[in-house]
Symmetry: C2
Subunit: 62 residues, 2 copies
């Protein structure tokens, strides 16, 4: 999931800090999320997906 968030963010040319601010997520927390080091809650996934204007399911790799 973290890798998809990072890829999507980069494709939209948004910095990690900007995405964190847009999603209302702590900046250091966002770093851990992108590195796959956090088991985030679904509500956080929704906030990040909304900030990236993507369906949340698209950020999940399974």
């Amino acid at each position: 999931m973290g890798r998809r968030i990072r890829e999507t963010r980069n494709s939209q040319q948004i910095s990690q800090e900007t995405l964190a601010d847009m999603a209302g997520v702590d900046r250091s927390h966002m770093g851990f999320i992108e590195r796959g080091k956090r088991d985030i809650r679904v509500s956080t996934l929704f906030k990040i997906a909304r900030a990236l204007k993507m369906p949340p399911g698209n950020l999940l790799d399974f």
Copy 2:
């Protein structure tokens, strides 16, 4: 999300208890999840999706 989990579970004629056991989730916790009373972690969403043989994104309504 809870409603989708419930709908999917019912369409597969699986009881809430059986789904909880299959997903390795506490039975009472599953009840709260289905009623939308829990902000579950993505890992829990994956466990439930795997038990229902569905892509996790399909259980997310947005």
